[in-house]
Protein backbone atom coordinates (compact mmCIF):
# COMPACT_ATOMS: atom_id res chain seq x y z
CA UNK A 1 0.00 0.00 0.00
CA UNK A 2 1.54 3.28 -1.11
CA UNK A 3 1.54 5.92 1.61
CA UNK A 4 -0.93 8.77 1.45
CA UNK A 5 0.60 12.06 0.25
CA UNK A 6 -1.78 14.00 2.51
CA UNK A 7 -0.13 12.49 5.56
CA UNK A 8 3.32 13.51 4.28
CA UNK A 9 2.16 17.05 3.48
CA UNK A 10 0.40 17.33 6.85
CA UNK A 11 3.45 16.03 8.70
CA UNK A 12 5.97 18.25 6.89
CA UNK A 13 3.92 21.39 7.36
CA UNK A 14 3.19 20.56 11.02
CA UNK A 15 6.93 20.32 11.70
CA UNK A 16 7.68 23.49 9.69
CA UNK A 17 4.79 25.27 11.42
CA UNK A 18 6.09 24.43 14.90
CA UNK A 19 9.63 25.51 13.95
CA UNK A 20 8.41 28.84 12.55
CA UNK A 21 6.04 29.57 15.43
CA UNK A 22 8.87 29.04 17.93
CA UNK A 23 11.22 31.13 15.77
CA UNK A 24 8.53 33.81 15.52
CA UNK A 25 8.03 33.97 19.29
CA UNK A 26 11.80 34.28 19.80
CA UNK A 27 12.28 36.91 17.06
CA UNK A 28 13.87 40.09 18.36
CA UNK A 29 13.29 43.72 17.36
CA UNK A 30 15.76 43.44 14.49
CA UNK A 31 13.96 40.58 12.74
CA UNK A 32 10.58 42.26 13.22
CA UNK A 33 11.84 45.56 11.85
CA UNK A 34 13.29 43.80 8.79
CA UNK A 35 9.87 42.31 8.02
CA UNK A 36 8.07 45.68 8.03
CA UNK A 37 7.01 45.31 11.68
CA UNK A 38 5.26 41.99 11.06
CA UNK A 39 6.07 38.85 13.06
CA UNK A 40 6.29 37.04 9.72
CA UNK A 41 7.75 33.80 11.12
CA UNK A 42 4.88 33.52 13.59
CA UNK A 43 2.15 34.23 11.02
CA UNK A 44 3.65 31.95 8.37
CA UNK A 45 4.02 29.25 11.05
CA UNK A 46 0.37 29.58 12.04
CA UNK A 47 -0.65 29.42 8.39
CA UNK A 48 1.36 26.22 7.94
CA UNK A 49 -0.19 24.61 11.03
CA UNK A 50 -3.66 25.36 9.65
CA UNK A 51 -2.68 23.83 6.29
CA UNK A 52 -1.25 20.78 8.07
CA UNK A 53 -4.51 20.45 10.02
CA UNK A 54 -6.55 20.57 6.80
CA UNK A 55 -4.49 17.79 5.19
CA UNK A 56 -4.54 15.54 8.26
CA UNK A 57 -8.26 16.09 8.81
CA UNK A 58 -9.03 15.43 5.14
CA UNK A 59 -7.10 12.18 5.28
CA UNK A 60 -9.01 11.20 8.42
CA UNK A 61 -12.43 11.94 6.96
CA UNK A 62 -11.84 10.51 3.46
CA UNK A 63 -9.11 7.91 4.02
CA UNK A 64 -9.56 6.12 0.67
CA UNK A 65 -8.92 8.94 -1.73
CA UNK A 66 -5.64 7.40 -2.87
CA UNK A 67 -6.37 3.79 -3.80
CA UNK A 68 -3.76 1.10 -3.56
CA UNK A 69 -1.81 1.27 -6.85
CA UNK A 70 -1.84 -2.52 -7.18
CA UNK A 71 -5.66 -2.53 -7.23
CA UNK A 72 -7.37 -4.00 -10.23
CA UNK A 73 -8.74 -0.61 -11.36
CA UNK A 74 -5.38 0.28 -12.83
CA UNK A 75 -5.64 -1.12 -16.33
CA UNK A 76 -2.93 -3.19 -17.99
CA UNK A 77 0.81 -2.84 -17.70
Amino acid sequence: MLFDIRRILGGLFAVYGVILVVAGLLDGAEEIAKAEGVRINLWTGIGMLVLAGVFLLWERLRPKDVPDPSDENSGDA
Binding site: I5, I8, V38, N41, S70
Partner: protein, 554 residues
Protein backbone atom coordinates in the same frame (compact mmCIF):
# COMPACT_ATOMS: atom_id res chain seq x y z
CA UNK B 1 15.10 53.77 -3.67
CA UNK B 2 17.94 51.43 -2.89
CA UNK B 3 21.04 50.94 -4.98
CA UNK B 4 22.53 47.49 -4.98
CA UNK B 5 25.84 45.97 -5.91
CA UNK B 6 25.86 42.34 -7.09
CA UNK B 7 27.49 41.06 -3.89
CA UNK B 8 24.35 42.09 -1.98
CA UNK B 9 22.65 39.05 -3.46
CA UNK B 10 24.21 36.84 -0.79
CA UNK B 11 21.49 35.79 1.66
CA UNK B 12 22.12 35.81 5.36
CA UNK B 13 21.19 32.18 6.01
CA UNK B 14 21.85 30.49 9.35
CA UNK B 15 21.47 27.06 10.97
CA UNK B 16 17.69 27.42 11.25
CA UNK B 17 17.36 27.89 7.47
CA UNK B 18 19.62 24.92 6.79
CA UNK B 19 17.54 22.81 9.21
CA UNK B 20 14.41 23.57 7.14
CA UNK B 21 16.27 22.76 3.93
CA UNK B 22 17.66 19.50 5.32
CA UNK B 23 14.25 18.37 6.62
CA UNK B 24 12.76 18.86 3.17
CA UNK B 25 15.35 16.78 1.39
CA UNK B 26 15.17 14.05 4.01
CA UNK B 27 11.44 13.78 3.25
CA UNK B 28 12.09 13.81 -0.52
CA UNK B 29 14.50 10.89 -0.35
CA UNK B 30 12.18 9.15 2.14
CA UNK B 31 9.36 9.35 -0.41
CA UNK B 32 11.67 7.68 -2.93
CA UNK B 33 12.29 4.73 -0.59
CA UNK B 34 8.61 4.41 0.36
CA UNK B 35 7.51 4.56 -3.30
CA UNK B 36 10.02 1.87 -4.21
CA UNK B 37 8.13 -0.69 -2.14
CA UNK B 38 5.00 -0.11 -4.20
CA UNK B 39 6.67 -0.79 -7.56
CA UNK B 40 5.83 -4.22 -8.91
CA UNK B 41 5.51 -3.62 -12.64
CA UNK B 42 6.65 -1.25 -15.36
CA UNK B 43 3.24 0.44 -15.17
CA UNK B 44 3.94 1.26 -11.50
CA UNK B 45 7.35 2.70 -12.35
CA UNK B 46 6.47 4.70 -15.49
CA UNK B 47 2.84 5.59 -14.90
CA UNK B 48 2.55 5.56 -11.10
CA UNK B 49 0.27 2.51 -11.48
CA UNK B 50 -2.42 4.68 -13.14
CA UNK B 51 -3.98 5.08 -9.71
CA UNK B 52 -3.79 8.75 -8.71
CA UNK B 53 -6.76 11.07 -8.07
CA UNK B 54 -7.14 14.29 -10.08
CA UNK B 55 -6.08 16.70 -7.34
CA UNK B 56 -2.65 15.03 -7.09
CA UNK B 57 -2.05 14.72 -10.84
CA UNK B 58 -3.42 18.25 -11.33
CA UNK B 59 -1.06 19.83 -8.82
CA UNK B 60 1.81 17.79 -10.29
CA UNK B 61 0.79 19.06 -13.74
CA UNK B 62 1.05 22.70 -12.69
CA UNK B 63 4.17 22.02 -10.65
CA UNK B 64 6.04 20.29 -13.49
CA UNK B 65 5.88 23.67 -15.20
CA UNK B 66 6.58 25.68 -12.03
CA UNK B 67 10.33 25.21 -12.10
CA UNK B 68 12.51 27.90 -10.59
CA UNK B 69 13.52 29.16 -14.05
CA UNK B 70 9.84 29.80 -14.67
CA UNK B 71 9.32 31.56 -11.31
CA UNK B 72 12.42 33.75 -11.47
CA UNK B 73 11.86 34.38 -15.19
CA UNK B 74 8.23 35.44 -14.79
CA UNK B 75 9.14 37.80 -11.92
CA UNK B 76 11.83 39.20 -14.23
CA UNK B 77 9.20 39.64 -16.96
CA UNK B 78 6.95 41.34 -14.40
CA UNK B 79 9.68 43.89 -13.67
CA UNK B 80 10.51 44.33 -17.36
CA UNK B 81 7.08 44.23 -19.04
CA UNK B 82 4.66 44.97 -16.19
CA UNK B 83 1.18 43.52 -16.07
CA UNK B 84 1.37 42.31 -19.68
CA UNK B 85 3.24 39.34 -18.19
CA UNK B 86 -0.15 37.91 -17.12
CA UNK B 87 -0.74 37.06 -20.81
CA UNK B 88 1.64 34.12 -20.29
CA UNK B 89 -0.87 32.71 -17.80
CA UNK B 90 -4.39 33.82 -18.64
CA UNK B 91 -4.32 33.54 -22.43
CA UNK B 92 -0.99 31.72 -22.91
CA UNK B 93 -1.76 28.73 -20.68
CA UNK B 94 -5.29 28.35 -19.30
CA UNK B 95 -7.21 27.97 -22.62
CA UNK B 96 -4.75 25.32 -23.86
CA UNK B 97 -4.91 23.45 -20.56
CA UNK B 98 -8.71 23.37 -20.71
CA UNK B 99 -8.57 22.21 -24.35
CA UNK B 100 -6.17 19.41 -23.41
CA UNK B 101 -8.52 18.24 -20.66
CA UNK B 102 -11.79 18.43 -22.56
CA UNK B 103 -10.79 17.45 -26.10
CA UNK B 104 -7.44 15.66 -26.23
CA UNK B 105 -6.95 13.80 -22.96
CA UNK B 106 -9.60 11.13 -23.68
CA UNK B 107 -7.60 10.05 -26.76
CA UNK B 108 -4.32 9.94 -24.86
CA UNK B 109 -5.69 8.16 -21.83
CA UNK B 110 -8.15 5.72 -23.34
CA UNK B 111 -5.71 4.50 -25.99
CA UNK B 112 -3.64 3.19 -23.02
CA UNK B 113 -0.41 4.57 -24.43
CA UNK B 114 2.57 5.23 -22.14
CA UNK B 115 3.77 8.33 -23.94
CA UNK B 116 3.10 10.93 -26.62
CA UNK B 117 5.48 9.23 -29.12
CA UNK B 118 3.63 5.93 -28.58
CA UNK B 119 0.39 7.69 -29.52
CA UNK B 120 2.10 8.85 -32.71
CA UNK B 121 3.04 5.24 -33.53
CA UNK B 122 -0.56 4.07 -33.08
CA UNK B 123 -2.04 6.93 -35.10
CA UNK B 124 0.72 7.13 -37.73
CA UNK B 125 3.73 4.80 -37.89
CA UNK B 126 6.91 3.71 -36.04
CA UNK B 127 9.06 6.20 -37.97
CA UNK B 128 7.03 9.14 -36.62
CA UNK B 129 7.32 7.67 -33.13
CA UNK B 130 11.09 7.29 -33.40
CA UNK B 131 11.68 10.81 -34.72
CA UNK B 132 9.56 12.40 -32.01
CA UNK B 133 11.02 10.15 -29.30
CA UNK B 134 14.62 11.01 -30.16
CA UNK B 135 13.88 14.73 -30.49
CA UNK B 136 12.06 14.66 -27.15
CA UNK B 137 14.74 12.62 -25.36
CA UNK B 138 17.54 14.91 -26.52
CA UNK B 139 15.56 18.03 -25.62
CA UNK B 140 14.74 16.73 -22.13
CA UNK B 141 18.37 15.95 -21.30
CA UNK B 142 19.49 19.36 -22.56
CA UNK B 143 16.74 21.13 -20.61
CA UNK B 144 17.61 19.14 -17.48
CA UNK B 145 21.21 20.30 -17.87
CA UNK B 146 20.16 23.93 -18.39
CA UNK B 147 17.99 23.65 -15.26
CA UNK B 148 20.90 22.25 -13.30
CA UNK B 149 23.23 25.00 -14.45
CA UNK B 150 20.69 27.72 -13.61
CA UNK B 151 20.22 26.17 -10.18
CA UNK B 152 23.96 26.16 -9.57
CA UNK B 153 24.24 29.82 -10.62
CA UNK B 154 21.46 30.86 -8.23
CA UNK B 155 22.88 28.82 -5.35
CA UNK B 156 26.31 30.35 -5.93
CA UNK B 157 24.88 33.87 -5.85
CA UNK B 158 22.57 33.32 -2.87
CA UNK B 159 24.37 30.84 -0.64
CA UNK B 160 27.94 30.97 -1.89
CA UNK B 161 28.00 27.27 -2.81
CA UNK B 162 30.57 26.46 -5.51
CA UNK B 163 29.05 25.59 -8.88
CA UNK B 164 30.14 21.95 -8.96
CA UNK B 165 28.83 21.27 -5.44
CA UNK B 166 25.27 22.45 -6.29
CA UNK B 167 25.30 20.47 -9.54
CA UNK B 168 26.43 17.21 -7.92
CA UNK B 169 24.24 17.45 -4.80
CA UNK B 170 21.03 18.32 -6.68
CA UNK B 171 21.64 15.75 -9.39
CA UNK B 172 22.28 13.11 -6.72
CA UNK B 173 19.00 13.87 -4.92
CA UNK B 174 16.95 13.83 -8.13
CA UNK B 175 18.70 10.63 -9.21
CA UNK B 176 17.97 8.97 -5.87
CA UNK B 177 14.26 9.63 -5.79
CA UNK B 178 13.48 8.97 -9.45
CA UNK B 179 15.55 5.79 -9.64
CA UNK B 180 13.90 4.46 -6.50
CA UNK B 181 10.30 5.49 -6.97
CA UNK B 182 9.86 6.33 -10.66
CA UNK B 183 6.96 8.58 -11.65
CA UNK B 184 5.12 8.24 -8.30
CA UNK B 185 7.98 9.82 -6.44
CA UNK B 186 8.36 12.55 -9.07
CA UNK B 187 4.66 13.37 -8.77
CA UNK B 188 4.53 13.25 -4.96
CA UNK B 189 7.53 15.56 -4.81
CA UNK B 190 5.94 17.94 -7.28
CA UNK B 191 2.85 18.23 -5.07
CA UNK B 192 5.04 18.90 -2.03
CA UNK B 193 7.18 21.41 -3.90
CA UNK B 194 4.07 23.28 -5.00
CA UNK B 195 3.04 24.00 -1.41
CA UNK B 196 6.56 24.82 -0.20
CA UNK B 197 7.31 27.32 -2.97
CA UNK B 198 3.96 29.04 -2.40
CA UNK B 199 4.62 29.13 1.37
CA UNK B 200 7.98 30.75 0.65
CA UNK B 201 6.66 33.32 -1.84
CA UNK B 202 3.50 34.50 -0.08
CA UNK B 203 5.43 36.26 2.76
CA UNK B 204 7.56 38.04 0.13
CA UNK B 205 4.41 39.32 -1.61
CA UNK B 206 2.69 40.41 1.62
CA UNK B 207 5.72 42.24 3.05
CA UNK B 208 6.55 43.77 -0.33
CA UNK B 209 3.03 45.15 -0.66
CA UNK B 210 3.15 46.56 2.89
CA UNK B 211 6.39 48.39 2.03
CA UNK B 212 5.11 50.00 -1.16
CA UNK B 213 1.74 51.02 0.30
CA UNK B 214 -0.54 48.25 -0.88
CA UNK B 215 -1.91 47.81 -4.41
CA UNK B 216 -2.68 51.50 -4.70
CA UNK B 217 0.84 52.53 -3.69
CA UNK B 218 2.32 49.94 -6.03
CA UNK B 219 0.25 51.20 -8.98
CA UNK B 220 1.28 54.78 -8.33
CA UNK B 221 4.98 53.91 -8.01
CA UNK B 222 4.92 51.78 -11.18
CA UNK B 223 3.41 54.75 -13.04
CA UNK B 224 6.36 56.86 -11.87
CA UNK B 225 8.92 54.16 -12.80
CA UNK B 226 10.64 53.52 -16.15
CA UNK B 227 7.73 51.25 -17.07
CA UNK B 228 5.20 54.09 -16.78
CA UNK B 229 1.44 53.74 -17.22
CA UNK B 230 1.94 51.06 -19.91
CA UNK B 231 3.08 48.69 -17.17
CA UNK B 232 -0.42 48.68 -15.67
CA UNK B 233 -2.40 47.67 -18.77
CA UNK B 234 -2.80 44.33 -20.52
CA UNK B 235 -4.84 44.94 -23.69
CA UNK B 236 -5.57 48.66 -24.18
CA UNK B 237 -2.08 49.37 -25.56
CA UNK B 238 -1.95 46.41 -27.95
CA UNK B 239 -3.45 48.04 -31.07
CA UNK B 240 0.20 48.58 -32.07
CA UNK B 241 3.44 47.05 -30.81
CA UNK B 242 4.17 50.24 -28.87
CA UNK B 243 3.87 48.68 -25.41
CA UNK B 244 6.30 47.16 -22.90
CA UNK B 245 5.99 43.65 -24.37
CA UNK B 246 6.45 44.89 -27.95
CA UNK B 247 3.55 42.72 -29.19
CA UNK B 248 0.21 43.55 -30.81
CA UNK B 249 -3.04 41.80 -29.88
CA UNK B 250 -2.75 39.66 -32.99
CA UNK B 251 0.63 38.36 -31.83
CA UNK B 252 -0.67 37.80 -28.31
CA UNK B 253 -3.84 35.97 -29.34
CA UNK B 254 -2.48 33.86 -32.22
CA UNK B 255 1.23 33.67 -31.46
CA UNK B 256 1.22 33.29 -27.68
CA UNK B 257 -2.36 32.16 -27.05
CA UNK B 258 -2.60 29.72 -29.93
CA UNK B 259 0.53 28.24 -31.54
CA UNK B 260 3.03 28.56 -28.69
CA UNK B 261 0.65 27.72 -25.89
CA UNK B 262 -1.35 24.91 -27.51
CA UNK B 263 1.89 23.41 -28.84
CA UNK B 264 3.48 23.36 -25.41
CA UNK B 265 0.57 22.35 -23.19
CA UNK B 266 -1.15 19.76 -25.36
CA UNK B 267 1.78 17.78 -26.78
CA UNK B 268 4.64 18.17 -24.30
CA UNK B 269 4.98 14.71 -22.80
CA UNK B 270 6.61 15.97 -19.58
CA UNK B 271 3.18 17.57 -18.90
CA UNK B 272 0.84 15.02 -20.50
CA UNK B 273 2.51 12.20 -18.52
CA UNK B 274 0.93 13.57 -15.32
CA UNK B 275 -2.52 13.03 -16.83
CA UNK B 276 -1.65 9.51 -18.00
CA UNK B 277 -0.92 8.53 -14.39
CA UNK B 278 -4.48 9.37 -13.25
CA UNK B 279 -6.79 6.61 -12.02
CA UNK B 280 -9.47 6.82 -14.74
CA UNK B 281 -10.51 8.79 -17.81
CA UNK B 282 -12.36 11.40 -15.81
CA UNK B 283 -9.40 12.04 -13.48
CA UNK B 284 -7.08 12.25 -16.50
CA UNK B 285 -9.33 14.84 -18.13
CA UNK B 286 -9.54 16.81 -14.89
CA UNK B 287 -5.73 16.85 -14.49
CA UNK B 288 -4.94 19.91 -16.64
CA UNK B 289 -8.22 21.56 -15.62
CA UNK B 290 -7.49 21.24 -11.89
CA UNK B 291 -4.07 22.68 -12.75
CA UNK B 292 -5.62 25.67 -14.53
CA UNK B 293 -6.99 27.13 -11.28
CA UNK B 294 -3.65 27.55 -9.47
CA UNK B 295 -2.16 28.65 -12.81
CA UNK B 296 -4.66 31.55 -12.84
CA UNK B 297 -3.34 32.77 -9.48
CA UNK B 298 0.41 32.21 -9.86
CA UNK B 299 0.95 35.74 -11.26
CA UNK B 300 0.21 36.97 -7.70
CA UNK B 301 3.48 35.43 -6.50
CA UNK B 302 5.54 36.19 -9.63
CA UNK B 303 4.35 39.39 -11.33
CA UNK B 304 3.68 41.33 -8.10
CA UNK B 305 7.16 40.65 -6.66
CA UNK B 306 8.61 41.66 -10.03
CA UNK B 307 6.82 45.02 -9.88
CA UNK B 308 7.72 45.55 -6.20
CA UNK B 309 11.39 44.87 -6.99
CA UNK B 310 11.21 47.32 -9.92
CA UNK B 311 10.03 50.18 -7.71
CA UNK B 312 12.31 49.34 -4.75
CA UNK B 313 15.65 48.71 -6.45
CA UNK B 314 16.67 51.57 -8.71
CA UNK B 315 19.41 49.69 -10.56
CA UNK B 316 17.49 46.45 -11.24
CA UNK B 317 18.14 45.34 -14.81
CA UNK B 318 20.52 48.24 -15.49
CA UNK B 319 24.23 48.06 -16.35
CA UNK B 320 26.16 47.25 -13.18
CA UNK B 321 22.97 46.41 -11.25
CA UNK B 322 21.49 42.99 -10.54
CA UNK B 323 19.79 41.16 -13.43
CA UNK B 324 15.95 41.15 -13.63
CA UNK B 325 16.10 37.43 -12.81
CA UNK B 326 17.19 38.29 -9.27
CA UNK B 327 13.99 40.24 -8.46
CA UNK B 328 12.65 37.56 -6.08
CA UNK B 329 15.98 36.73 -4.35
CA UNK B 330 16.54 40.47 -3.77
CA UNK B 331 13.18 40.75 -2.04
CA UNK B 332 13.86 37.62 0.04
CA UNK B 333 17.07 39.25 1.20
CA UNK B 334 15.30 42.53 1.90
CA UNK B 335 12.34 41.26 3.93
CA UNK B 336 12.64 37.70 5.17
CA UNK B 337 14.13 36.93 8.61
CA UNK B 338 15.78 33.54 9.21
CA UNK B 339 13.14 30.85 9.33
CA UNK B 340 10.80 32.02 6.56
CA UNK B 341 13.95 32.72 4.57
CA UNK B 342 14.83 29.02 4.85
CA UNK B 343 11.36 28.09 3.57
CA UNK B 344 11.77 30.38 0.55
CA UNK B 345 15.25 29.04 -0.26
CA UNK B 346 13.93 25.47 0.11
CA UNK B 347 11.06 26.29 -2.22
CA UNK B 348 13.41 27.66 -4.88
CA UNK B 349 15.78 24.71 -4.65
CA UNK B 350 12.87 22.26 -4.65
CA UNK B 351 11.35 23.84 -7.73
CA UNK B 352 14.63 23.62 -9.61
CA UNK B 353 14.77 19.93 -8.77
CA UNK B 354 11.12 19.30 -9.59
CA UNK B 355 11.69 20.86 -13.01
CA UNK B 356 14.65 18.60 -13.59
CA UNK B 357 12.80 15.54 -12.26
CA UNK B 358 9.94 16.17 -14.70
CA UNK B 359 12.44 16.20 -17.58
CA UNK B 360 14.16 13.04 -16.36
CA UNK B 361 10.96 11.07 -15.72
CA UNK B 362 9.72 12.00 -19.20
CA UNK B 363 13.08 11.01 -20.64
CA UNK B 364 13.31 7.58 -19.01
CA UNK B 365 9.80 6.63 -20.17
CA UNK B 366 10.37 7.67 -23.77
CA UNK B 367 13.81 6.07 -23.86
CA UNK B 368 12.54 2.78 -22.45
CA UNK B 369 9.25 2.44 -24.33
CA UNK B 370 9.66 4.37 -27.53
CA UNK B 371 13.33 3.96 -28.34
CA UNK B 372 14.35 0.66 -26.73
CA UNK B 373 11.16 -1.40 -26.55
CA UNK B 374 9.80 0.01 -29.80
CA UNK B 375 12.89 -0.09 -31.96
CA UNK B 376 15.67 -2.14 -30.36
CA UNK B 377 14.29 -5.07 -28.40
CA UNK B 378 10.62 -5.40 -27.58
CA UNK B 379 10.06 -8.88 -26.18
CA UNK B 380 11.78 -8.99 -22.81
CA UNK B 381 9.87 -9.68 -19.59
CA UNK B 382 8.31 -6.71 -17.79
CA UNK B 383 10.97 -6.54 -15.02
CA UNK B 384 13.61 -5.94 -17.69
CA UNK B 385 11.98 -2.63 -18.63
CA UNK B 386 11.75 -1.44 -15.02
CA UNK B 387 15.47 -2.11 -14.72
CA UNK B 388 16.13 -0.40 -18.04
CA UNK B 389 14.10 2.59 -16.86
CA UNK B 390 16.33 2.88 -13.80
CA UNK B 391 19.46 2.64 -15.95
CA UNK B 392 18.02 5.28 -18.32
CA UNK B 393 17.42 7.55 -15.31
CA UNK B 394 21.06 7.27 -14.32
CA UNK B 395 22.14 7.88 -17.92
CA UNK B 396 19.81 10.89 -18.22
CA UNK B 397 21.07 12.48 -15.01
CA UNK B 398 24.72 11.92 -15.95
CA UNK B 399 24.10 13.44 -19.39
CA UNK B 400 22.32 16.33 -17.67
CA UNK B 401 25.38 16.96 -15.48
CA UNK B 402 27.53 16.94 -18.62
CA UNK B 403 25.18 19.44 -20.27
CA UNK B 404 25.32 21.65 -17.17
CA UNK B 405 29.10 21.87 -17.38
CA UNK B 406 28.94 22.55 -21.12
CA UNK B 407 26.37 25.27 -20.39
CA UNK B 408 28.82 26.81 -17.92
CA UNK B 409 31.27 27.25 -20.80
CA UNK B 410 28.85 28.25 -23.55
CA UNK B 411 25.98 30.01 -21.81
CA UNK B 412 24.93 31.89 -24.96
CA UNK B 413 24.37 28.73 -26.97
CA UNK B 414 22.26 27.40 -24.13
CA UNK B 415 20.12 30.53 -24.13
CA UNK B 416 19.41 30.04 -27.83
CA UNK B 417 18.64 26.36 -27.34
CA UNK B 418 16.23 27.19 -24.56
CA UNK B 419 14.48 29.72 -26.78
CA UNK B 420 14.30 27.07 -29.49
CA UNK B 421 12.58 24.58 -27.18
CA UNK B 422 9.93 27.21 -26.48
CA UNK B 423 8.43 26.59 -29.91
CA UNK B 424 9.64 23.05 -30.47
CA UNK B 425 6.13 21.66 -30.05
CA UNK B 426 4.30 23.94 -32.48
CA UNK B 427 4.59 21.56 -35.49
CA UNK B 428 3.63 18.59 -33.32
CA UNK B 429 0.42 20.35 -32.36
CA UNK B 430 -0.50 20.85 -36.04
CA UNK B 431 0.03 17.14 -36.68
CA UNK B 432 -2.07 16.17 -33.67
CA UNK B 433 -4.96 18.41 -34.42
CA UNK B 434 -5.19 17.31 -38.07
CA UNK B 435 -4.63 13.66 -37.17
CA UNK B 436 -7.31 13.69 -34.48
CA UNK B 437 -10.03 15.23 -36.62
CA UNK B 438 -9.24 13.94 -40.12
CA UNK B 439 -9.24 10.16 -40.34
CA UNK B 440 -7.89 10.22 -43.90
CA UNK B 441 -4.54 11.71 -42.75
CA UNK B 442 -1.93 9.10 -43.66
CA UNK B 443 0.99 7.65 -41.63
CA UNK B 444 3.65 9.24 -43.84
CA UNK B 445 1.87 12.59 -43.74
CA UNK B 446 2.39 12.46 -39.98
CA UNK B 447 6.08 11.76 -40.39
CA UNK B 448 6.93 14.30 -43.07
CA UNK B 449 4.68 16.96 -41.57
CA UNK B 450 6.59 16.94 -38.29
CA UNK B 451 9.98 16.90 -40.02
CA UNK B 452 9.04 19.78 -42.35
CA UNK B 453 7.50 21.81 -39.51
CA UNK B 454 10.56 21.36 -37.31
CA UNK B 455 12.87 22.39 -40.16
CA UNK B 456 10.68 25.45 -40.81
CA UNK B 457 11.10 26.56 -37.18
CA UNK B 458 14.88 26.30 -37.52
CA UNK B 459 14.80 28.02 -40.90
CA UNK B 460 13.19 31.08 -39.35
CA UNK B 461 14.96 31.14 -36.03
CA UNK B 462 18.59 30.58 -37.05
CA UNK B 463 18.71 33.46 -39.60
CA UNK B 464 17.04 35.66 -36.99
CA UNK B 465 19.75 34.78 -34.46
CA UNK B 466 22.45 35.31 -37.07
CA UNK B 467 20.86 38.74 -37.72
CA UNK B 468 20.20 37.91 -41.38
CA UNK B 469 16.50 38.78 -40.98
CA UNK B 470 14.91 41.32 -38.65
CA UNK B 471 11.85 40.20 -36.69
CA UNK B 472 11.79 42.89 -34.00
CA UNK B 473 11.84 41.45 -30.49
CA UNK B 474 12.76 37.91 -29.40
CA UNK B 475 9.14 37.33 -28.52
CA UNK B 476 7.98 38.26 -32.03
CA UNK B 477 10.68 36.02 -33.49
CA UNK B 478 9.32 33.06 -31.53
CA UNK B 479 5.74 33.87 -32.65
CA UNK B 480 6.87 33.91 -36.29
CA UNK B 481 8.97 30.74 -35.95
CA UNK B 482 6.17 28.84 -34.23
CA UNK B 483 3.60 30.12 -36.71
CA UNK B 484 5.78 29.07 -39.66
CA UNK B 485 6.34 25.63 -38.14
CA UNK B 486 2.61 25.20 -37.60
CA UNK B 487 1.66 26.28 -41.13
CA UNK B 488 4.38 24.31 -42.93
CA UNK B 489 3.47 21.19 -40.92
CA UNK B 490 -0.21 21.59 -41.82
CA UNK B 491 0.45 22.20 -45.54
CA UNK B 492 2.90 19.30 -45.87
CA UNK B 493 0.57 16.98 -43.93
CA UNK B 494 -2.35 17.70 -46.24
CA UNK B 495 -0.23 17.48 -49.40
CA UNK B 496 1.34 14.13 -48.46
CA UNK B 497 -2.03 12.73 -47.36
CA UNK B 498 -3.44 13.31 -50.85
CA UNK B 499 -0.78 11.13 -52.49
CA UNK B 500 -0.33 8.31 -49.94
CA UNK B 501 -2.57 5.54 -48.57
CA UNK B 502 -4.47 6.07 -45.31
CA UNK B 503 -4.66 3.50 -42.50
CA UNK B 504 -7.74 1.26 -42.47
CA UNK B 505 -10.44 2.57 -40.13
CA UNK B 506 -10.21 -0.54 -37.94
CA UNK B 507 -6.69 0.45 -36.84
CA UNK B 508 -7.75 3.99 -36.00
CA UNK B 509 -10.54 3.16 -33.55
CA UNK B 510 -10.12 5.18 -30.35
CA UNK B 511 -7.43 7.37 -31.94
CA UNK B 512 -9.48 9.64 -34.18
CA UNK B 513 -12.50 11.79 -33.39
CA UNK B 514 -15.73 10.05 -34.40
CA UNK B 515 -14.23 6.54 -34.56
CA UNK B 516 -14.99 5.22 -31.08
CA UNK B 517 -13.56 1.99 -29.82
CA UNK B 518 -16.62 -0.11 -28.94
CA UNK B 519 -14.53 -2.55 -26.87
CA UNK B 520 -13.58 0.08 -24.29
CA UNK B 521 -15.66 -0.12 -21.17
CA UNK B 522 -16.71 2.88 -19.13
CA UNK B 523 -14.15 3.34 -16.34
CA UNK B 524 -15.96 5.99 -14.32
CA UNK B 525 -16.22 5.56 -10.55
CA UNK B 526 -18.85 6.62 -8.02
CA UNK B 527 -19.01 10.41 -7.81
CA UNK B 528 -17.66 11.13 -11.30
CA UNK B 529 -21.06 12.27 -12.46
CA UNK B 530 -21.22 15.12 -9.93
CA UNK B 531 -21.01 18.60 -11.49
CA UNK B 532 -17.84 19.42 -9.53
CA UNK B 533 -16.08 16.54 -11.26
CA UNK B 534 -17.27 17.44 -14.75
CA UNK B 535 -14.38 18.49 -17.02
CA UNK B 536 -16.68 20.67 -19.11
CA UNK B 537 -18.12 22.56 -16.12
CA UNK B 538 -14.77 23.07 -14.39
CA UNK B 539 -13.00 23.88 -17.66
CA UNK B 540 -15.57 26.53 -18.58
CA UNK B 541 -15.23 27.95 -15.06
CA UNK B 542 -11.47 28.36 -15.54
CA UNK B 543 -12.00 30.16 -18.88
CA UNK B 544 -14.58 32.52 -17.40
CA UNK B 545 -12.26 33.34 -14.49
CA UNK B 546 -9.34 33.97 -16.86
CA UNK B 547 -11.45 36.48 -18.79
CA UNK B 548 -12.79 38.07 -15.59
CA UNK B 549 -9.30 38.50 -14.12
CA UNK B 550 -8.37 40.72 -17.07
CA UNK B 551 -11.22 43.17 -16.41
CA UNK B 552 -9.53 45.34 -13.72
CA UNK B 553 -6.32 45.54 -15.80
CA UNK B 554 -7.51 46.27 -19.34
Amino acid sequence: MLALAPQDLRLDVNALDYLILALYFAVVVGIGFAARRAIRSSSDFFLAGRALPAWITGLAFVSANLGAIEILGMAANGAQYGLMTVHYYWIGAVPAMVFLGIVMMPFYYRSKVHSVPEFLRRRFNPATQLFNAIAFAVAQVLIAGINLYALALVMEALLGWPLWLSVIVSAAIVLAYITLGGLSSAIYNEVMQFFVIIAGLVPVVVLGLIRVGGFEGLGQKVRESVLGDGGLHTWSTTASTDNPLGASWIGIVFGLGFVLSFGYWTTNFAEVQRGLSARNTNAARLTPIVAAYPKLLIPVVTVIPGLVALVLFSDLGKDGGPAYNYAIPLLMNEFLPNGVLGVAVTGLLASFMAGMAANISGFNTVFTYDIWKGHVNGDKPDEFYVRLGRVATIGGVVAGIGTAFIAAGFSNIMNYLQALFAFFNAPLFATFIIGLFWKRMTPWAGFWGIIAGTLAAFAVYIPYRAELIDLGTDLNASFVAAGAAFLVDAIVSVAITLVTTPKPEEELRGLVYGLTDVDLKDDSIAGDKAWYRSPVVLGSGALVLAAAFYLPFL
